[in-house]
Symmetry: C2
Subunit: 384 residues, 2 copies
Amino acid sequence: MNILFAQGGGPTAVINSSLQGVVEAARESGKVDKIYAARFGAEGILKGDLIDLTDVPASTISLLANTPASAIGSCRRKLTEEDYPTVLKTLRKFDIDCFFYNGGNDSMDTCNKVNELAKAEGLDLRVIGVPKTMDNDLDITDHCPGFGSAAKYAALSASELALDASSLPIHVVVLELMGRGAGWVTAASALASRVTTCRQLTYLPEVPVDVDWMLADIEREYAKGKGLIVTVSEGICGLDGKPLADSGIVDGFGHTVPGGTAQYISNQIMEKLNLKSRAEKPGLLGRASIPYASEIDRQEAYAVGRYAMEAALKGESGYMVAIEAHRGAKYSYDLFLAPLDKVANVEKKFPVEWIVGGNQISDAFFDYALPLMMDELPKYAQLR
Amino acid sequence: MNILFAQGGGPTAVINSSLQGVVEAARESGKVDKIYAARFGAEGILKGDLIDLTDVPASTISLLANTPASAIGSCRRKLTEEDYPTVLKTLRKFDIDCFFYNGGNDSMDTCNKVNELAKAEGLDLRVIGVPKTMDNDLDITDHCPGFGSAAKYAALSASELALDASSLPIHVVVLELMGRGAGWVTAASALASRVTTCRQLTYLPEVPVDVDWMLADIEREYAKGKGLIVTVSEGICGLDGKPLADSGIVDGFGHTVPGGTAQYISNQIMEKLNLKSRAEKPGLLGRASIPYASEIDRQEAYAVGRYAMEAALKGESGYMVAIEAHRGAKYSYDLFLAPLDKVANVEKKFPVEWIVGGNQISDAFFDYALPLMMDELPKYAQLR
């Protein structure tokens, strides 16, 4: 049998581990003839531009574990009704038996449509979705591969910045983190006030922000003299429901791309509070960093890839691999198959009850997220 | 004998390793009674606000190796002539025999003045400067503790971002890195084009930038279709000698604080070239990140601390510890003492002959800097 693997949307720090899982499971099965990957995701499928990975050395495949971004290329093109015949043409041309699509909400929708269409056309195709999104907004699965690493990046970066801000408390430091509609990643940054003595305010896109109140909170907390870090999602909105700083750019899926939120807040702090302020925005680094990647996240990303290949070999189709988490004394997980039509286009929101007073994150979030990020909290010497 | 250790200016990822080196060498010598640290640097010295580290457990001191920012606090206050009598008062009050000042150019100037004044006043004080600056702009020493880690952060972050930019080539990614007057850290980001297939343009503050030429270069390189990353120092200036984006803020040492350079360039790319663009600015994260810290940098930072304590025990005064590097098949180094008056207020510039064609960095820089950053280059699977 021949398989095709494609990636869609923004990459994560561990996205290639899922590809590694699929390839290694395919090779071990002895049942796969050709292993193809779509060059630049949907674009490659539409052009019939596939990469033949069949004979790529095992040593190169193992490098995928420490390769961020998409090793085979991705794109933001959303497939439309008119595209699907071309997709089927490519699948037929390369005699594909199993199609794996590695992505988030939009990709699972694509996956679902390809599956339906293949059935309708009488094509013997197995379609399995492999979840991937740092945004953690896929439904049914406990969490998404890619989230743990992005959350760890946010948590440790904010903690390190908090140490800097409190050791040289000459300015209010504002840190912008990715997350347009869902605050999952930014919430993780709230670890800073748990492992340092720095004061912290955290704003997620789920709660509209009154900028005057925000500034009043900033002024009060900074005055306590222990340093202050303000961590914000790029997508936070004002009371009018509009992003605080809007770049005006719309991506290929029709989503508005926000940007400059931290700089906007920082400017307000300087102008209205007459305090020094710095805005930091690591941006895409938050999804691309290997040194900050979560080991458990990497293991899970690899495991969902293997599981997808194994499910396809058993003849399953029309499912996404999902994770069931067991948060006991030691974290563990199981994998299962969730129907694609149940996950497609559903956005799992951050529970608003985990946002305390508009700018603090409850321990319930860390009970949920910490096992996905790290085994133990960082320990710092704070001698002041 | 009693010792006092203080930190000045911006911290680095390994600044606390130097403190650890001083404390551990002091304890092992059996000759030191009281170990004091100035709380928030010069501010603590002026207020007589010292932290007594004498009985801090060894296990806490060992955490300093993985604690970014200043564990004892720092400040940007530059001591003036009127301050020096107060400094001497504190030194007398706590019966200080050895004074260590851990900092960059400005701190070495302070160190030198304290040493001169103590001599003039007949005070039996030993003064040793402990070098620290991510900017790498101290003279005489081959390089500064803190630089290797900041350079590694710039190099790996740019490489990871380059992989992201080339795997999903929908925008020009502009990365802003710290370095106001000297381009040492930003130069390290040029590793990206050496370990990925992404195109790269790098701009340092040493060469004034013609924005129209820059945009023409960006348009041409992006059109090659392999993705493009533009890495810039925060302090790059236009042909008029003014920073491209000037925040208008001046720090305690009288230096202008630039900011928003990447966002400015990104806006120009969108407006004038009609290309999508993203600006990323990790800012202070570049000096605070522990996961990206260089192991050899950490070892050297620790070693200069120990060496400073040992020099003081031998009765030396009026020197800064400096590094002599041996770049053989395997990197090694020796330490020596450099007269404070030779290093104070001298800024070591990035050699302009290492900047090729205004936007590329020569291999000569990497021959110099790579051994300070990492043992081996990162290896990525690039299957496209």
